[in-house]
Symmetry: D2
Amino acid sequence: MAKKLNVGIIGYGFMGRTHSNAYNRVTDFFDVPFDPVLKVACGLVEDEVKAFAANWGFESWTTDWHKVIDDKSIDIVDICVPNNVHAEIAIAAAKAGKMIICEKPLAMNAKQARTMVEAVEKAGVANLVSFNYRRVPAVTLAKRLIDEGRLGRIFHYRANFLQDWTISADVPQGGMATWRLDVKAAGSGVTGDLLAHCIDTAMWQNGRITAVNAMTETFIKERKHAETGKVEKVGIDDACTFFCRFENGSLGNFESTRYARGHKALYTFEINGEHASIFWDLHDTQWLMYFDHRDEGRMRGWRKIHVTDHGGDHPYMDHYWVPGLTVGYAETFVNQLADFLTAAAKGEPCSPTFREALETQKVCDAVLESAKSGTWVEVPEE
Amino acid sequence: MAKKLNVGIIGYGFMGRTHSNAYNRVTDFFDVPFDPVLKVACGLVEDEVKAFAANWGFESWTTDWHKVIDDKSIDIVDICVPNNVHAEIAIAAAKAGKMIICEKPLAMNAKQARTMVEAVEKAGVANLVSFNYRRVPAVTLAKRLIDEGRLGRIFHYRANFLQDWTISADVPQGGMATWRLDVKAAGSGVTGDLLAHCIDTAMWQNGRITAVNAMTETFIKERKHAETGKVEKVGIDDACTFFCRFENGSLGNFESTRYARGHKALYTFEINGEHASIFWDLHDTQWLMYFDHRDEGRMRGWRKIHVTDHGGDHPYMDHYWVPGLTVGYAETFVNQLADFLTAAAKGEPCSPTFREALETQKVCDAVLESAKSGTWVEVPEE
Amino acid sequence: MAKKLNVGIIGYGFMGRTHSNAYNRVTDFFDVPFDPVLKVACGLVEDEVKAFAANWGFESWTTDWHKVIDDKSIDIVDICVPNNVHAEIAIAAAKAGKMIICEKPLAMNAKQARTMVEAVEKAGVANLVSFNYRRVPAVTLAKRLIDEGRLGRIFHYRANFLQDWTISADVPQGGMATWRLDVKAAGSGVTGDLLAHCIDTAMWQNGRITAVNAMTETFIKERKHAETGKVEKVGIDDACTFFCRFENGSLGNFESTRYARGHKALYTFEINGEHASIFWDLHDTQWLMYFDHRDEGRMRGWRKIHVTDHGGDHPYMDHYWVPGLTVGYAETFVNQLADFLTAAAKGEPCSPTFREALETQKVCDAVLESAKSGTWVEVPEE
Amino acid sequence: MAKKLNVGIIGYGFMGRTHSNAYNRVTDFFDVPFDPVLKVACGLVEDEVKAFAANWGFESWTTDWHKVIDDKSIDIVDICVPNNVHAEIAIAAAKAGKMIICEKPLAMNAKQARTMVEAVEKAGVANLVSFNYRRVPAVTLAKRLIDEGRLGRIFHYRANFLQDWTISADVPQGGMATWRLDVKAAGSGVTGDLLAHCIDTAMWQNGRITAVNAMTETFIKERKHAETGKVEKVGIDDACTFFCRFENGSLGNFESTRYARGHKALYTFEINGEHASIFWDLHDTQWLMYFDHRDEGRMRGWRKIHVTDHGGDHPYMDHYWVPGLTVGYAETFVNQLADFLTAAAKGEPCSPTFREALETQKVCDAVLESAKSGTWVEVPEE
């Protein structure tokens, strides 16, 4: 019989919804050692947090996150608030001995992230940063193929994260819905929001990034604030491109923007090895493209793999329906939670931990610094 | 406050899982007038039904479906058993005044389906047959575009449902896992299992099929029975192709097989109109292809629409995440249930009703008859 | 030193152009035993044939095809006129001992085709029917893979040829540009014009078709004649669908129409075997899709093969540029001519001969007869 | 009657073939004011140049390029030799008053290119650099759409040119077949060979590049020389990535490598504007992808345009076959030649002239310099 796991979620926005859904569904699909109970939802606006709690079946709600931390019955604190509040909550939760799942990016910068790593490691609590795209079945399959050495020596890693939702100058910054455009809440623009995903996946698949050279741009220089209506300077990066070197000698090329018409959330990566290459695209999330030069010459081609097979062939899919039928975005959080709970029960770390997410934060810092200096910046190793 | 809706599900196989999931999730995503409660799960093997009930959170379980019907507290009976048992249960449930959701195909044949239609209509109970693919957002969008007349006069309707899971002669027939290969349980092979989906969608989008001309084949003539191990003649159609005429003057071409290597569940349809055409493919379930000849000549092309937009643009998607992020197979059942509950609360029928599913059954009967006679068979209008 | 080959082309329409181009280019790319010389172009309208001859570099022109036949210096007669004139010219050319290349379909019907076969076989002249799509490199590669047995037992063959150029009721019939819509000149509509290609390729790849069951439709019943302006009944089939059985036990499904919006010349085929499947599409002419179930489970997918490799991997491509760079439609005729000239020099037949094209004609006849009778029609074996 | 144009081609490698083919075919498809005559072919190895001349129908051959220049009857000199010999020949040809077509990149560096520009401008001779990809019909269509302002303000330009043919350490450098790997003959690696194409197209479509920041890598440090067999240091760049700023405020991201498994010649570009975006891919050369945000919301999607339409819709295609049927790589040179001859007869420049190609050379120089310095390099304006 699985042990009850009392959950407190802080933040009821987009991520509050995806995490709540994962807690509700994980036991339907996975045989996990914990049975999550949605104890308390926490958020700023009373009406909204009440509605959120009712919708997802939380037993209670609060507008004060300290109450969640102070509640002895809570086993896990799940942080779904804007980036600028992660550290304070996470450190408090660690001190209170809670397990912690924190939305990405971990922090406003590497310095802050380090304090969070220290806190969870000192407290010895289970911790995870929600880079959920690692748990897309096709992405996990890609990781396995790389780890088995099928690609041989790696030459290139390329990743893009392209969106088009901020092209209109009428989109405001700040507030609940558009805090991602407010540098004070988000810390940065596409670098922390989107490239952080790409960097996390890239280092997981291809090892450490040692140095970067970046360019950023803010296309729309001023926007109204969503709450005050005041026109203010935009502080975030609307677009960021960087190239880099990995420790294994391969070259990286990364780009993200919110000004690419026609792309809603086009996260893609391609990795080119001596023997084989891999390509994936979030819009076609259920497919993995794989090219193997060792195939017979006449019949070499990019294989379009529908990552929905069972019998252990395709990660996570045995837990769902039948071959050929897809899962979607929501299941990446379910898969992640299943892995986390399984690891936590064994006292094992679950990737990406706060410590691993710190590495991503260091690369983001280096990218932003390089964009300012216009030259290469080393990513500190320690 | 939504009214409680006590649910009894009969059958704990693949469809029992998809339906249970829908009841659990529908209120998370839709504001429906009922709040489903998983009261009782019913199935043949005690250990299995117990485990199923525990997994999905049913309050109780039974191995006798009559108990579900007889239980006054049950509001809705959900039939997820093999085709040969649909009629008996549905008729009993109707007499008991229950709402009914029945898996497809409705019955073993049109004659039997008629008795079921009569039962639910006499009883006046809400009823639905679970042709879930109608509620893929891209498929519903296609329906809307057709209904608005954007395609103009329709010339062609083409649909395929291609699988490859029975190519090995070692796949058995009969039993719990492979009852679909047993003609006594399934009634037919790909015609009732797969083409029924294609026919349902086609008539919903393009109107009545008036006459058909078909060919069927059973490639593997004998298989072991899954339970007895006895080698027996295979009674189902492994493959079925038919062409047909629709009442609106357009031509249809349908094909299904379980012997198409490389296709796990490739349900596709294409509809060609005077002005525009539409294509959809279950393996790329989140995309709709649309070609409009009224576009400027130089820039005419098939538009690849990622059916994940919000703001009312794309059916059902406002209820889920953000543009660009996908839902999967499971959500087709959630969407269907939301529509059904909403209609039921208003006392309105929800498509496809038993009566509409009877039309599909009539076409299936005509297809199988035509395959035997080798010539055209009219689909009876009444 | 290659021997001169004096060429007389009869017909200066679309096919006259593709064949003239092939004669001009074949020695640039292939080491063939003949050096074609464009001696004479023949066609009905003096101004037009003169311009045509000047454009392509013919030494002379005529409006009387008998002069081409009677000219002793002519080695090869190339027939590019409407279908209803093929037989008369071909039989005369055979009697005069000329090599013959004839556009497809060979004749108006099988009866007439038989007289042509007899004529060329009696005369012992080299002969070829220009089913040029066999010589698309990807299509030839598909044939090789099938012949090597890589697909195993074949279950299904599916082919479509979809166009959209006659949807407007304003398109006339008859005349030089639209003789394909005039049943007197063309013999049939899409069956002889488009399905003949599909049938030729299908039987080449998959063996004899033994019986067919077909449906045809003429959507626009009357059209103006291009020359007289008179509104007349349309005698051709605008659309034709048929299913069939092959001698090897596999099932066929074929469809062609000129009423499929969005498709200019979408010739596709798919062949499903026990072990592997193949798909090709004329709009993506340089790609071949190949799925092999013997690939490791996790990495099974449709391979998208860019059929442009050298070193003998991809048919014909060694003769052109470098890997990755494409050839187009014109080269199918160049490849075909190279094969024909090579075979002719050795006194060997070159596929498809008139005799092989007669087989296609028999299937077309059976299709048209079946569409009238509404039931199966056997394709005569002799 | 078109005037004879006597052609001398210097170089009989890959480009010698594509150019010869273009001269032979241009009058078949275009009504041009000159009728090219292949007068003389020139190359280093007597046997090879003789065979080349015979194959393509040249009237004579020579191993001394000065003889081509000195021959008064020659109207146009076409330079298809390695990059390090372009300048000397071009300057001599200009002095002799010949029209000149020169393969790309124009020169070894901008300094050398300047001398060539001065020579042709002083001589007042027609001149063109063969950046043939501009004349892919889909690429020309893209240019038209951009010039009409359909994309609105441009935010991003992205281009890749990915190959995989030098991954094996056994590929030699130097010699006739692999001079592109020899820095003394080629000047640079992928930068001059591949990125030059991308830069040329990009500036043609999107205006001047003002500054670049680049990274290069040589993965295989030593290779045998093809002729001497001696193992020597590799001097070229195997891979090059750069980002840049355009004068119009948009950002560029360019990458090229010969170490991307699965890509033979994958030249792609994407341009993202305020209203619309465009994507093209050389492997799918006949398609243009176009997304227009002004389309109705529900039906917005990337339009896959088969660039084969007639009636003026698609550039160059009226000159070839019928809609739906493709041309290939060879036709880019035919189209280019037709444009050049038409312009030359009018005394007008034909893009890209030597002067325009100098701009590309300047960007290439800046890229290589930046890769060394590790920081931004301005592209000189003058």
